[in-house]
Amino acid sequence: MNEILEILSENAKATPSEIAALLGRSEADVAREISELEDAGVIKKYITLINWEKLDNSVVFAVLELKVALQRKTGYDAVAERIARFSEVESVRLISGDHDLSVTVRGKSMKDIAYFVAEKIAPLEGVQSTCTHFILKNYKEHGVILTEKPKPKRLVVTP
C-alpha cells in the first residue's frame, strides 16, 4: 500500500509534517501527494472512530441482509445506490453467499430502525426480503479492539 495512505488510515490527524518525518520525505512533497490523492477520490473523507458504548445517549446500529432481484443492465447497482442515499444508511456492500446486500443502518432506537426498514427498505422494488440484525455489542472496529484492557507494563529501564 501507499505509505502515506497506510499512515492516514491509522491516524487521520497525522499532518503532512509528521508524515514527512516518518517517511524521511519533504513536507511539501507529502502535502502535494495527499492533495493528489484527495483530488483523485482515493481519499474520500477523514473520520473519527468513536466508541459509542462509552456514551449514555447511545446510538443503535443494525446490519440488514437483503435479497435483491437482479435487474437487467443495472445488476445490483440501481437498488444498492438507491439504498445508499438514505442518511440512516452507513454502509452498503454487495456480498457473496446467502444474501446479496449487507447494509449497516444507524438509528436512535431499535424501533426507529425497525420502522425505517419496514417503511423505506422492504417496499423498494427489487428488494425481495430483509433480515435485520441489531448490533448488541461492538468488540472491534476498524482494526481497533474496543474492549481492550490496558497494556501490560514493561520495566521502565532495561539494558
Binding site: 509528521e18 518525518a21 516518518l22 517517511l23 524521511g24 521502565v156 529501564v157 539494558p159
Partner: protein, 397 residues
C-alpha cells in the same frame, strides 16, 4: 536445642559469597530504574525491548499447547521441529546450511547462549575481545567463565563499526575469541559485508573464534543483515547467537539459539543440559509458531520501527542532539559532547527536569561516554513528546 546452637552470632552471608560475584560492578542502570519508577508522567526511552505485545497468534498457539497438556521436558537441544524451522529460516536468510540434529541448540534466551558460548570455550586466563560500547552482559559472562574480557573501543567517526586495527592491537597470546554484536545495542550500528571482510584477516591471522550475537539481525533497515559466518571460509569458526526476543516481540518468553560447528554446539549443549536441561517447552511451542507463521507480523513491527527511526533520528538532529543514522536495532545514540556534561549528569538532569529517561552511554562501556542511548521502541506520540521535552531541556543548558 543443643546448648552450642544457642546465642550464635548473626550469620554472615556476605562471607560466603564468591569473590568473582562480589567484585562484579552493580548494573549502571539501577539508579535510573529507581528514579523513573517513582516518577509520574515520565517518558522512558530507556527500555531495551519492543513495546509490542507478542502477536496474538503466537500467544494463542501457546495457550492451545498448554490446554493440550504439552508440559514435559523437550530434548536438551530443543524441540526438533523448532530446530528444523530455525535452520530453514537461516538457510533462507543467510544462505547457510546447518544440521538441525547437531549444529543448533535452543537456549533460554540469547543471554543463556552468550553465557554458554564463553563457558564452553574459555579456559582460565583466556581472553575474549569485546567491542564497546556494548550490551552489559558480555564482560561479566566472560569473567564468570574464568576468562578475561578485553574491551576495544568503537567510535562515532566510524559510525561505531569495529575497526580491524583495534582488534589486532588487543590480541595477545591468550586471545581466543572475538565477540561481535551487530546490529548493535546501544549504538544501532551495523557492520557491512566489507567491514566484516576487513575483520576476517585479523581473525584468521590470530586463529580466533567469532561469537556473533545477532539478536537484532531482523531489525536492519534499508540494508540486509550480513553475518560473519557468511564470509568465505568463516562459517566453521563462527558461532551465531540469535533469538526471537527482539524480532518477534518475545522478550519474556526467553527463547534463543546457538548455531555453529557441531563440536562447539555440542560443548555448549553439555553445559546447557546440566544447568538448564531444556528451554521452557511452552516458550518453544510459541517460538515454533512465530518461526512458521510470524513473518508478516515481524515485518509489520519492523516497518513501524523504521518509521519511528526516521521520525526520531531526524528529530534528534533537528534539536541539536547530533546523531549518526543507526541502521539496525531500535536505538539512537546521540552525542552530548558539546555541552561538556557527563552522560550520567546529562541523563539525570534530563530525567529530573523534563521527565525523559534515557540510558547514559557510559553504562555500555567507557567509549559510550558522551552519548545517550535512546530507544525508539515506544509509540510515535511518546517519541514526539520526548523530543519536545528534550528540546526544552537543551535550550536551558
Amino acid at each position: 536445642m543443643r546448648q552450642s546452637l544457642k546465642n550464635l552470632p548473626a550469620w554472615n552471608a556476605d562471607a560466603h559469597l564468591s569473590h568473582v560475584v562480589k567484585s562484579m560492578p552493580p548494573s549502571g542502570i539501577r539508579k535510573f530504574f529507581d528514579l523513573v519508577s517513582e516518577m509520574d508522567g515520565a517518558i522512558s526511552l530507556g527500555v531495551g525491548e519492543p513495546d509490542f505485545v507478542t502477536p496474538w497468534h503466537v500467544r494463542e498457539a501457546c495457550i492451545y499447547s498448554l490446554e493440550s497438556g504439552n508440559t514435559h521436558y523437550t530434548s536438551n537441544r530443543g524441540m526438533p521441529e523448532l530446530r528444523d524451522a530455525i535452520c530453514d529460516q537461516v538457510r533462507r536468510d543467510l544462505k547457510l546450511d546447518y544440521n538441525p540434529a547437531k549444529e543448533i541448540l535452543i537456549t533460554t534466551g540469547v543471554s543463556e547462549a552468550v553465557d554458554l558460548a564463553f563457558r564452553a570455550t574459555l579456559n582460565p586466563g583466556d581472553e575474549a575481545i569485546v567491542p564497546e560500547p556494548c550490551y552489559v552482559a558480555y564482560a561479566p559472562d566472560i569473567v564468570l567463565a574464568g576468562g578475561v574480557p578485553r574491551m576495544v573501543p568503537t567510535r562515532l567517526e566510524d559510525e561505531f563499526r569495529l575497526r580491524p586495527e583495534e582488534v589486532a592491537k588487543a590480541v595477545t597470546e591468550n586471545t581466543k575469541a572475538v565477540l561481535l554484536s551487530y546490529p548493535n545495542n546501544p549504538t544501532g550500528a551495523i557492520m557491512t559485508r566489507a567491514d566484516l571482510e576487513d575483520l576476517a584477516d585479523v581473525v584468521v591471522e590470530n586463529d580466533l573464534l567469532v561469537i556473533s550475537d545477532e539478536v537484532y539481525a531482523k531489525l536492519s533497515y534499508s540494508v540486509s543483515h550480513v553475518s560473519f559466518a557468511q564470509l568465505e571460509g568463516m562459517k566453521d569458526r563462527t558461532l551465531i547467537l540469535n533469538g526471537l526476543s527482539k524480532s518477534h516481540a518475545m522478550t519474556g518468553w526467553r527463547i534463543g539459539y546457538a548455531m555453529g560447528d557441531s563440536a562447539l554446539v555440542g560443548a555448549m549443549t553439555k553445559v546447557h543440559q546440566y544447568t538448564m536441561l531444556c528451554a521452557p517447552t511452552m516458550a518453544q511451542v510459541a517460538a515454533l509458531e512465530a518461526m512458521q507463521k510470524g513473518n508478516e507480523e515481524m515485518l509489520r513491527m519492523r516497518h513501524e520501527y523504521d518509521l519511528r527511526r526516521r521520525l526520531f533520528v531526524s528529530g534528534l538532529n533537528r534539536i541539536g542532539l547530533d546523531c549518526f543514522e543507526p541502521r539496525g536495532a531500535f536505538y539512537a545514540f546521540p552525542s552530548i559532547q558539546r555541552w561538556g556534561l557527563s552522560s550520567e549528569e546529562f541523563a539525570q538532569r534530563l530525567l529530573l527536569e523534563q521527565k525523559v529517561a534515557v540510558v547514559p552511554g557510559n553504562v555500555f562501556g567507557q567509549s559510550g561516554e558522551g552519548f545517550l542511548r535512546c530507544s525508539y521502541a515506544t509509540s510515535r506520540e511518546e517519541l514526539i513528546e520526548a523530543l519536545d521535552r528534550m528540546e526544552n531541556f537543551i535550550s536551558g543548558l
